[in-house]
Symmetry: C2
Subunit: 199 residues, 2 copies
DNA sequence: GGGTTAACCTAACACTGTTCGGTTAGTCGG
DNA sequence: CCGACTAACCGAACAGTGTTAGGTTAACCC
């Protein structure tokens, strides 16, 4: 097939289909050939629109991070922290499969830094030292990313029988997928509340 | 080369060289061929001692996790939580490059579960409900893994000039590698202290 | 000393991301 | 209207990945 009348590819379409594949098949489930196939195209054609796979993932990551909302600091810094963390977590957990890439890659993402800068400024305005503000922001990110990786409760979904005998203390209620999600959210809320309260 | 007089390979040697490569070249820097080469052997030979690369990584991960110490709950549960978290973080940050794999993979690791079970039991003994104990343990893991991924301060080590103008609030002192490590540790301690205090 | 097994090898398979050189449809200048 | 040029796609290839099948030989046991 030579040049088609109307282009089959665009950066936006590539990103959106790639994200759909990641959501469906996981991070390892995305290959350039598979992505191309689902776009009705050969793999090489992608490189006219995307510099590299890593760049593609970065772009997707940035677009997800750009939905994070850091407003709400006018009221009070505690409320601002909580809202920011919730928004961050919501953004991450809407596409959980890409979180490992996000956490792995450099934190120096434009979107991430902008929001961090705002957060940092708000904390300093509230009376914290610069160093403290940095550490508080870091702590908040620990909780957000730790919970979004969610290698915790959703990582348990193996055979319940494995746990019952060997780990007497562990409640196995959280093995049910529905409960696991709820438990993850509640754990996040508890950790967040405890962290902010303890500051 | 046929069967050598003294075996060149053993699961232990393979694991230790593999971990050395990961520490030196990163998680992506480990390939079976490279590992084999450093062991003075061909790649296929590894599969007589190791079922699969993923299994190898899991074994390495388990051996790292097995150094985590969850004692210290006799004194008081707050102290126990803090000691456990510190020990966990120490174990992870001694081999930071494997943390992404650890965080990515299932939490259902034998070593991880044993310690989780103990922690859970200690919390229940201290008067928390089973559900609360689970959530507290999860929260602790969020902070530990979030901090060990350390996609925070060590992720910034780019060009300092990039930050100065665009992000006025961000202090750029933490760009210095030495400071970054210290800041990471202090951020972890602050998050941990705030979390435990806030419970 | 012969048979068995364990430890290594070579070669290959099916993938991966990425690049090079071609082929053609669309677009613009004269 | 026609030629030059570019944009968009393709086929084939490269170097690399994890993994397996089948072969070769040294060490071990009876």
């Amino acid at each position: 097939m030579p040049r088609p009348s109307t282009p089959l590819l665009s950066p936006d379409r590539i990103r959106s289909v790639a994200l759909a594949i990641i959501d469906r098949d996981g991070l390892d489930g995305l290959s350039m050939r598979k992505l191309a196939a689902e776009l009705g195209v050969q793999a090489a054609s992608l490189y006219g629109h995307v510099r590299t796979k890593d760049q593609l993932l970065n772009d997707i990551a940035s677009s997800i991070l750009s939905t994070v909302d850091v407003s709400g600091f006018e009221v009070d810094w505690r409320e601002g922290l909580i809202r920011c963390a919730r928004s961050y977590r919501a953004a991450l957990s809407s596409h959980p499969n890409i979180v490992p890439f996000l956490a792995y890659g450099p934190a120096g993402r434009e979107e991430s830094l902008q929001r961090l800068d705002l957060l940092h400024g708000a904390l300093v305005d509230a009376g914290w030292s610069r160093r403290e503000a940095t550490m508080i922001a870091a702590g908040l990110m620990y909780i957000v990313f730790g919970s979004a990786l969610s290698s915790f409760s959703s990582g348990f979904s193996a055979d319940p029988a494995d746990y019952t005998d060997r780990y007497p203390h562990l409640d196995r209620a959280h093995l049910l997928p529905g409960v696991a999600r709820e438990l993850d959210r509640d754990s996040f809320e508890l950790a967040l509340a405890a962290f902010v309260r303890g500051l």
